[in-house]
Symmetry: C2
Subunit: 277 residues, 2 copies
């Protein structure tokens, strides 16, 4: 599995992706799912992938081959509009799937991939597209300013609640990291490290990019402090009618001593005598 | 679909359930999924259900019949241990599924249901069980203090980050409401109103129960303010290396004027010219 998210705000684009691929629980590898095509001053693209790894790699190889071949009729450099690039990538994706699907269909393996394309071409605003396995695509909209591929449910509520067009590029990036962290915590098939890239509107290049490991200080601090911040937020919600005289002041969250370990066993666990399904 | 969550903390148990059942997008109804069996001073049980509604109703009818029949060999009142009650309910569930499965299997409809049972019997600590369609069950554990049934992914991260044995009963209840609210926001098949019940350890009765509609002041305020609280929390996360001199002071979240509407269209939407998958 995989989790990638692309966000479009007024200030630009944010991309974040995990790096775990797994064919099964005992066939787990680290692969980059975020791919950058940068032509500073002219255009910049980021492509993120979920699904069949062989299909993704074939698609990317063909995109690179077209770029390097001066006689290629089309390439990432030959279009004037981002939606044309999305259509072109969709066609390459479909043909990459078709190449292996005959044998694969017999084995029951899905060869489909889903992609997120974002970037900017000089003269246009930045844009963000989700390219489906059928080759068709959808863009972000004012009401739907982000796109996800892979294991998207765990990380969706935080995006729904926070991301607006006016959100700053860096706050949107922090939100993307929390969304990734929640997903990694809840689903074994999504794993560290995290790749992140920011494109500021008009920069026509990758403005910032980073790979965050679990012990990268920024990520470690987000991972360690987010629970305390949420706890303070929950505590400051309204009181129930029977809670007379309760203080809704947030508990101290951003400073003070570390919270103790999550939980120590307070009693015998009745579950141990039951079968686990 | 459905979303129900049961939480066990040192102070007691929390139950929260939505009330939407849907056979399809145009066959949507409101049904109670939280069922209370209360024998004050002796024992108290809450049962929540997800899955086939007919199976659930049959199971509950049989539990009630056994309670009312003085000659019934077993009933919710006849056991001394909560895990025996869970096993009994599992057996009733399996037999309720079996009654309809022959015809149903031909139509492709699943007759399975999954239940959460929680409560307390005098002389025992409170306990919480998830009863599977096969009739077997698992309990909460010190490391896993909550159980979910139905559409569980959207509401899981907030529980993972906040619920510990030491969490107060009311904070755990606020957390459950946020978990429900996130799920309702993200999935059409989970809907208002919300039923909630609290059992304080040792009370041997329902300590508090309430039905929350969208316009119940407590719920409306949680729904309206939670995004702002999260936004403040995200903003107060650590700065990226390139954000020199940025203030990580939380933006004002719990007071001040309302946040403006989520988003107004800042530009033409390129997605409108694309096909929607």
């Amino acid at each position: 599995m995989t989790y990638c998210v692309g966000i479009e705000v007024d200030e630009g684009l944010i991309f974040a992706a995990d790096t775990r691929t797994s064919a099964s629980f005992d066939d787990v590898r680290v692969y980059r799912k975020m791919h950058i095509f940068e032509f500073p001053g002219d255009r910049v693209f980021v492509i993120m992938s979920a699904g069949n790894l062989a299909t993704t790699q074939l698609t990317l190889s063909r995109l690179k081959r077209d770029l390097e071949d001066p006689d290629a009729p089309r390439s990432l450099r030959s279009f004037s509009h981002l939606y044309e690039v999305a259509e072109y990538i969709g066609e390459v994706l479909v043909s990459s799937q078709a190449r292996v699907s005959d044998e694969a269909q017999q084995s029951g393996v899905s060869v489909q991939s889903t992609l997120i394309l974002g970037g900017q071409i000089a003269g246009e605003r930045p844009g963000l597209y989700l390219v489906y396995p059928l080759g068709n695509c959808i863009a972000t909209s004012p009401e739907t300013p982000y796109l996800q591929i892979g294991e998207s449910k765990y990380g969706k509520p935080i995006l729904d609640r926070i991301i607006r067009a006016s959100t700053s590029l860096e706050d949107a990036a922090r939100c993307a990291l929390v969304s990734l962290d929640s997903t990694i915590r809840s689903n074994l098939s999504v794993g560290m490290p995290i790749d992140m890239a920011l494109i500021k509107a008009g920069d026509l290049r990758i403005t910032q990019k980073m790979r965050l490991e679990a012990d990268t200080p920024l990520y470690a601090e987000i991972h360690d402090t987010w629970s305390r911040k949420l706890e303070a937020a929950v505590h400051s919600l309204p009181s129930f009618p029977w809670e007379q005289g309760r203080s809704t002041e947030p508990v101290v969250a951003s400073a003070g001593p570390r919270v103790p370990p999550r939980r120590t066993a307070p009693r015998l666990d009745p579950g141990d005598v039951q079968g686990q399904q």
